[in-house]
């Protein structure tokens, strides 16, 4: 292991994205989901090395143009917007894209319930 520490899949977050990082306000219309590493057959080494991460496409189609990748935390349009097996996601640069539906999984809230953590803190309603 070349690095200092290993990372496991996150399951509760209160992170923000750059576009709103300075204002610390919830991102209305989005929720955090986790990466479904099992469904994508990603190993811990894949996760750590950032290999084989799912590609974000510019359109909900296998013919869509890749515009980036998603990692362990995924901001999805909420309620989920699913087309043709792809779910709409919000990238960290504010760009919208599409990710294969099987790449995401719900996250557990701090109280153990399932449904996706809020994007910038659990106490503020979206």
């Amino acid at each position: 292991m070349k690095r200092l520490i290993m990372v496991s899949a996150a399951w509760v977050i209160h992170a923000t994205i750059p576009a709103i990082a300075d204002t610390e306000v919830p991102i209305k219309g989005y929720q955090c989901f986790g990466l479904n590493a099992e469904a994508l057959h990603l190993t811990p080494d894949d996760m750590f090395a950032g290999k084989n991460l799912p590609k974000v496409l510019d359109a909900p189609s296998v013919d869509g143009k890749p515009i980036g990748t998603e990692g362990s935390l995924i901001y999805v349009t909420w309620p989920l917007k699913i087309e043709n097996g792809f779910v709409q996601v919000l990238r960290m640069n504010g760009e919208l894209g599409w990710l294969t539906e099987k790449a995401i999984r719900p996250m557990h809230r701090a109280d153990g319930s399932v449904g996706g953590a809020r994007s910038s803190g659990a106490k503020t309603a979206i």
Binding site: K2, R3, I5, S8, A9, I13, G71
Partner: protein, 156 residues
């Protein structure tokens, strides 16, 4: 790369293999120099072969540069524009799937809630469950100095 965290790795009590001008551990060095050569085979004739290259500043520089480049590209793929050395450090330390979120988070964000590490793993890195991303940035910047805010892929 400072995988020694700038500690005295030459001490007899050290178990780290971090060595050379860029303080890379052996496994990182090997993976990165191989990657650098694969990307540009022309450098193969200009480097010191094998682990001995780790102690040759010019050779280790190729490996360190390759690591920076790869991690910065990972950040860009994740939607982080113009990654800085500090942002790259997030990928380097927390991994490619999680590091970009640390890099993009606000200073006040709770680090553990993003990286989901055990308390022992956090403690091993001088962090606690209540540490913020800002705390982590301050720790890294203290070591990196002004280089922390330099853009890694300038001109790309």
């Amino acid at each position: 790369m400072m995988e020694s965290q700038c500690q005295n790795v030459g001490s007899s009590s050290s178990v780290s293999s971090a060595a050379g001008a860029f303080q890379m551990i052996s496994t990182t060095y090997t993976a990165d120099i191989n990657g650098a050569v694969a990307e540009d085979p022309a450098i193969a004739s200009n480097i010191v072969q094998g682990l001995a290259g780790q102690m040759d500043p010019g050779t280790e520089a190729y490996a360190a540069s390759y690591e920076l480049q790869q991690d910065a590209q990972m950040l860009q793929n994740g939607g982080v524009s113009n990654p800085t050395v500090l942002a790259v450090r997030a990928v380097y330390q927390f991994g490619g799937a999680t590091g970009p979120y640390v890099a993009a988070a606000s200073d006040s964000a709770n680090l553990e809630s993003i990286v989901n590490l055990s308390s022992s793993a956090l403690a091993a890195n001088g962090l606690t469950a209540s540490s913020t991303v800002g705390d982590w940035r301050a720790m890294q910047t203290k070591v990196l100095g002004s280089a922390a805010n330099q853009v890694v892929l300038a001109g790309s």
